[in-house]
Every structure is written in C-alpha cells, then in structure tokens.
C-alpha cells in the first residue's frame, strides 16, 4: 500500500453538484407541494412521497456504492476506495435516517402509527444500524490498514441487506406498498418525483466527494512517514 495523496482534480465539482441538487429540489418541491394534484385516497399527505421515495432510492444507491468501494479496496488496496467507502457509508446513514423520519411522518396520518415492525421498515432499520456500526468500528480502530480491511468486510456483509430491503415488500406480507413504476403512477406525479430524485442524487454526489476529501486528508496525515531526525552538526 502506498501513502494516499489527496488528488482533487476538479475542486469545484462537489459545489456544482450541491448547487444543481438544491435547484432541482427547489423546483421539484415547488411542483410537488403546489402544482401536482392531491392523490385520490391519501389526499395532500401523499406529497410526502416526493421527498420520501427519492430519499429511499438514493440511500440504497449510497450503500450500494459503499459496497462497490469495499470490494475495490479489498482487490486493489488503493486508499482512495477506503476514503470513498467511508464517505458513502456516512452519507447513506444520513439519507437512511432521513428516510425513516419521513416514513414515520407519513405513517402517522395514513397507518395511524409512527412506526410498525413491518418487513420493509425493519430491514431498513437493520441496514441503518449495521452501517452506523461500521462507522463506529472505523472510529474505534486506530491502525488504518486494519480499519480499512475490517470495515470493507463488514460493509460487504451489511450490504446483503440492500436487496432484502428492496424485495421485502414482495417476499413477505408487508403493510408497506409495493414498488411503484412510471406505469403505475399518474403522469402528473412524474416530474416532481424525478426532479427531487435528481436533486437528492446531486446532493448525495457532492456530499460523498466532500466527505471522501476529508477522509483522504486524514489518511494522508496518518500514513505519512515520520519526519527525519534532525542531524546534529559534527
């Protein structure tokens, strides 16, 4: 393994991604809140779906990216994949936490409860707790090589839950509705959903790049060779 050198070829890229994300989210939320019609059964409460569903998609995408980074790190031992894995895991946790909060706010008026131990909710909570555990593991281990290897293996194991979360509504009798597709959703709902999905995707990309920079700067500091002892004049 070589000492990582933080390489920021496109220093403005994360800020451009964040700006694009904010613009998409403002436009998508405006359409979702004020332009799209209320849903037939859920009424205005359905408008929560315009942030909840894009958050869910992007949380799963972040955890999948963490899995890809873990595999690449174990095969290549390249530190940039370790930094990216840490970044994707943390951003995935933020989005999954947000996802659970939005789901609870939606569940109260529709299901009558804030939380239910339904398969989709339970597997999502397990996924969030597993990745919080991985971040805790990374903060406890001081040796960078052990930290990277152990957390890469743990990330691969935790990522097994991502397809389980996706298919949980089909495999078990779930209170949570099945996945929607453009064919099952009214066309008037498409644009706010897509704009917010791209908005959170751009935000997530900007966050992961910034967080990976923080991780690579710390790694460069940890793995830098110790300074040479001062030579005393003869």
């Amino acid at each position: 393994m070589t000492v990582p050198v933080p390489n920021h070829r496109f220093p403005k890229l994360p800020y451009l991604a964040l700006a694009a994300g904010v613009l998409c989210l403002i436009a998508g939320s405006y359409l979702g809140l004020f332009v799209a019609p209320p849903e037939h059964f859920m009424g205005d409460v359905q408008r929560i779906m315009y942030v909840h569903v894009p958050t869910a998609w992007n949380a799963m995408l972040a955890f999948t990216f963490a899995f890809v980074c873990a595999v690449f790190f174990l095969f290549t031992s390249d530190w940039k994949w370790d930094a990216r894995m840490e970044a994707a895991a943390e951003v995935g946790c933020v989005l999954a936490f947000l996802l659970c909060c939005q789901g609870a706010i939606w569940a109260k008026p529709t299901w009558g409860v804030w939380w239910d131990w339904d398969p989709r909710l339970t597997t999502t909570a397990i996924l969030l707790l597993a990745f919080i555990g991985i971040l805790a593991l990374r903060s406890f281990v001081d040796d960078p090589v052990r930290r990277a290897t152990w957390s890469a293996v743990a990330t691969i194991i935790a990522s097994v839950d991502v397809p389980i979360v996706y298919y949980s509504v089909r495999w078990w009798n779930s209170l949570h509705q099945l996945q929607s597709s453009p064919a099952t959703v009214s066309k008037s709902f498409h644009l706010p959903l897509r704009l917010n999905a791209f908005g959170i995707l751009f935000l997530m990309t900007g966050f992961i790049i910034l967080r990976a920079r923080i991780a690579s700067l710390r790694l460069a500091d940890e793995l830098a060779p110790p300074p040479l002892p001062a030579v005393e004049p003869a």
Partner: protein
C-alpha cells in the same frame, strides 16, 4: 380519515419537507466545517 379517504394533513407534509431541509442543510454545513478544519 373518513371512509378510507384522507383529508388535510398539511402539517405532516410541512414537517416532512422541513425536517428534510434541516437535516440536509445541517449535514452539508458540518461537511464544509470539517473540510476546513482538516486542511
């Protein structure tokens, strides 16, 4: 809720959008602060 139809609920909608904005803004700000400190 009456007869399977939901009426109102805008307070829940604002809560979901507001909390989303707060969490994403706070996390973005924390990243910028941590990046500045680590340089």
């Amino acid at each position: 809720m009456t007869g399977g139809y939901l009426h109102g609920g805008w307070n829940f909608v604002w809560a979901a959008y507001g909390w989303t904005a707060i969490v994403l803004t706070a996390y973005g700000a924390s990243l910028l602060t941590r990046l500045r400190r680590s340089r």
